[in-house]
Amino acid sequence: MNHVVCIAYVPDTETKVKIGGDGKSIDETDVKWIVSPYDEYALEEALKTREAKGGTVTVLTFGPARADVGLRECLARGADEAVRIASDGLGETDSLGVAQLLAAALKGMKADAIWMGSKGVGTDAGVMVSMVAELLDLPNVNLVTKVEWKDGAVTLWREVEGGREVVESPLPCVIGAHKGLNEPRYASLKGIMAAKKKVIAVKKPADLGVDPAGITGEKAAVRWTKLELPPARQACKLIPADDPQKAAEELLRLLRDEAKVL
């Protein structure tokens, strides 16, 4: 079975966000980049499955040259191959544009399972699983926390409000991995050494038959016109806590009469 894991290389979740000079993107100085945490669950499950059933694991990303560091980390953990669709020099695109690029690359890759995180932790749109599946005319199942393989099919447990749906799907299928699926491994020293020798295949959008002009600038399906820090909250009103009972009563009174949320 062949797996392709789509990853996003995003600002570390601990990053303090600063707004860039253009007022519509983040200031990337001092940003530490990481493989998006949900994508790590996707990679881990693909690696585990390969170890049990054979096949290959390829990691795929869309991004600038710095994303090679993320791909190499995935290779160090055990992925066989890595492909980067180069965003260098491209104007700004959006989720649909990225989905089109990933779908174009995936068409030539013969994957039985296409993996990604349930959402990236950067733009947080959470649309990629559905979009890529639609563009490839494949079934998709997102928010997956358990997987069982059958011959040519897979059973997936999907987190929904108030429980888990058990979904059966034929392969190929696009699967969105969620927290709870597994515990991602660390790269071994041997893996790190081996990854250094591997070549990352870099493809331009045109190599995949996608015209960058059709997915960037005015043609981007969604544009960010402004980026701001969230509005500052009012200063916290501290309630004296010498007497817990009085403090509790006062707090509930404020929640009911002042904040009007009870």
Partner: protein, 326 residues
Amino acid sequence: MSNVLVFIEQRDGKIRKASLEALTLGRELAGKSGGTLAAVVAGSGVAGLAAELAPYGAAKVFVADKPELASYSTEGYVAALDAAVAAFSPAILLVSATTVGKDLAPRLAARRKVGVLSDVMGLEVAGGRLVGSRPVYSGKARATVQPAADAALQVATPRPNVFPASRAASPGAAAATALDFKVPAIRAKVVKLEAAEAGELDVAEADKIVSGGRGIKGPENWPILRALCHELGAALGASRAAVDAGWIHHGHQVGQTGKVVSPSLYIACGISGAIQHLAGMGSSKVIVAINKDADAPIFKAATYGVVADLFQIVPAMTEAAKKMKG
């Protein structure tokens, strides 16, 4: 003039509150631009639900009532939604950003080669074009987003619990039209639903959340928080620290790698307020912080704070809430 179509999600024949919020928002957008408000409902045996949408101002209701749609499937429901889009040709489509909505809307958008203003917390229409405001980098920043100027369809998924649902001054006709379309062979099929613990409210759809972190010291102390949840009708949340320690199932986790929530009340008990947690609950309307450490960052995000031992304050709050209810 912008005609607006709103997807109405039902579960077991009951319309979800989040969909009524989206319908109310759709009515406002249609009203401002002089357009017509329509809704689409999909499922099996759901034709009767159309009438329930009249008070919210729906002029038309498209109904996809088929046995194959009895349980949600991406492929079946996207076919229904696409048929409604074809029948009504709306300028704007709203789908509430529930688990179903976040799965369905981008699939429809990709089918129509348009984008999605995903998980918006603000949505307006200016000159026929949507302008959305959405949290990005897990709420650490807010982006203003717009669909492409020439978009054939503008799709947005409003975040639940943010836009209030309200009835229209005068009800809509809610004229029902059965959608004529073929449900494709569904590949990814739901075969079973495993319900969470009985009576457990999900943080993603709760209007109030009581959340615990490292300060609760161990899983044996959740009953203290659950008692308050019970009195307030709140869901139980947890910080990453509590989840990673194995004290509770990750379905409860609020934060950047957990659920991003916007309840009207969020009570953080023994949670220090790591940036990763604040990212998940910072957009709550009212935040209460209960923590022994006066320097904990959670107090910077809080509306009300009590610097005290949660083991004293939380039970006292449960008692006070009981008393308040009389």
